[in-house]
Symmetry: C2
């Protein structure tokens, strides 16, 4: 198979210069209707399609951005960051942008740099290391954070309305008559954790509900740790009648612990998760959870990035995506 046809072949066949062919494809309005048609015909006949590499070379831009998942041990398998990735991919796939996906860990291990990967902007998902952020900034590479925020850094961040989500969950529980509400917090990334935790405490205070130090427990975000922590939480006297969990995995742990202790959901204990992971509907009873539109977050990341990459002088620092409480059987 001979090599692909170039702009030169089209030029010859259509009888116009290469410049005109180029214009026909990159800026059709600048060539006369009749000429344009001739070019299209020739291109069609030759099955020509512009060579993106050569184009990048000529215009000195790659339109390539990266999405790095910055979470200890997490990969694209992490449902939350995969959701964001989905949004990014979906948006990027319908533009001329290209996306490089990796993890912070792989990125550093492979010694990659924005330059070596021809990257023009980077979206960092989760708690990125400061050194990484600084490196990109030093190289003049625009950075967008998602699901994370660093005060004072003036970096655009796309985040979910954490406080709002907690409020929705709490109001739901309170409206169901719960007064002794505990929280099982996990070691999420510092920004997200503090938002959720602070909102919880603030609302308890605001509603003048009793909150003792032991009513909030911390655990690792895996089922085992959550289950163990939940056991302690549920052996408090008087026992909490509802538990707000920092995420769904933790909530699953609470459900298991409750089951072991012979507590019925939601009669004896109401459980609310956070993130609305896909497995919420697989649990029995199905888990009430705060839904986060990850895909939307991903889309917004790309929007912010294109703004940064475009002429827009400065981009708003915060982009907040609303949450929605999905009420199911567990509460």
């Amino acid at each position: 198979m001979s090599s692909a046809p170039s702009i030169y072949d089209v030029s010859r066949l259509s009888g116009v210069s290469t410049a005109t062919v180029s214009r026909t494809f990159s800026c059709p309005s600048r060539v006369k209707e009749a000429t344009r048609r001739k070019v299209y015909e020739a291109a069609e006949a030759l099955n020509y399609s512009p060579n993106a590499i050569a184009r990048s070379m000529a215009i000195q831009r790659t339109d390539k951005i990266a999405y790095l998942i910055c979470k200890q041990g997490a990969t694209i398998l992490d449902e939350f960051y995969a959701g964001i990735c989905d949004g990014i991919l979906h948006t990027v796939n319908r533009t001329d942008y290209q996306l490089l996906v990796s993890t912070e860990e792989d990125w550093k291990l492979s010694g990659a740099t924005a330059q070596s990967k021809s990257i023009e902007g980077v979206i960092l998902g989760g708690k990125a290391e400061m050194s990484l952020i600084s490196e990109f900034r030093a190289q003049g590479i625009p950075v967008v954070l998602v699901n994370y925020f660093v005060p004072g850094l003036e970096l655009p961040s796309v985040v979910a309305d954490e406080a709002g989500g907690v409020r929705q969950a709490m109001e739901h529980l309170i409206s169901r008559g719960h007064k002794r509400i505990a929280m099982l917090a996990g070691r999420l990334n510092p920004y997200v954790l503090s938002e959720r935790y602070n909102a919880f405490v603030a609302i308890m205070k605001e509603r003048e509900l009793p909150l003792k130090p032991n009513d909030v427990k911390m655990c690792d975000p895996d089922v085992k740790s959550a289950e163990a922590a939940a056991r302690e939480l549920l052996s408090l006297a008087p026992r909490p009648t509802a538990v707000l969990c920092a995420n769904d995995v933790i909530a699953a742990g609470v459900c298991k612990a409750a089951h072991r202790l012979g507590l019925r959901l939601p009669e004896d204990l109401a459980v609310v998760g956070y993130d609305d992971a896909s497995f919420c509907t697989m649990l029995d009873p199905e888990l009430t959870s705060v839904h986060i539109d990850c895909r939307r977050m991903g889309e917004l990341c790309v929007e912010r990035m294109t703004e940064l990459l475009g002429e827009k002088p400065d981009v708003s620092e915060f982009t907040v995506v609303p949450t929605e409480l999905i009420v199911r059987r567990s509460s």
Copy 2:
């Protein structure tokens, strides 16, 4: 910020020709030790790193491959295909290859072609449409299938040992004394479904266990459908004592149905899932499932692809990844 230093800058600073600089980076053994050192020094001083775009342009290769998820409505959020993606990414990120991720749907909608995206090879995950496969082949683009196989097409396929997995599950159930074993099959992709189904039937026959037509039911692969189908399965008389499910989501549906019917797991009913999704440990009781090493499958896809892209004349058609039964409380 001025533009990045080019090979020309390094050439001047180090006092050698651009050709030598180029060789120093792409084939160090071809330049004398002393010269090499000079070049490295100059490069270091200028903070030079080769421009990948220009290189691609010159050598007429992009080293870029694509991974298309070919499953109705599925995205990178589908845990199984995300697992494969993880393996691919991991492998690709530590080579000079680049990866483009998309779905079959997005790919077609955006009118992308291998040429327009500068793709040199494509990995198709799941049941790809024949038209898509043909298109790539017509363009001389190497194709690797994963989790799918088309007889007679002579395309390298990376698949899990489905029959083996079913056997592991069945032997486990049989060793636990089960004789009335039902199967709840879902509309998976045709290759995978038939492998799992045929293996199930074969083993039942082989062990001379009773199998009536109604003992195998088909359902859509979502919890709701599975739960409904499971209800029917569990109302058969005599009732099956074990159910082999085509995947974990279906298994979750079975667990819910059993629970509603007041059946205890595993005493009254044993349930075995397939794929070993992350939520298996979140269910209560935890779900026994056939583990598939998706990441390994992804790695193997890249290996096959590099072989195809390299000189290797013909690549083995089948690459089979072993499965492992993870026994948990549900059986």
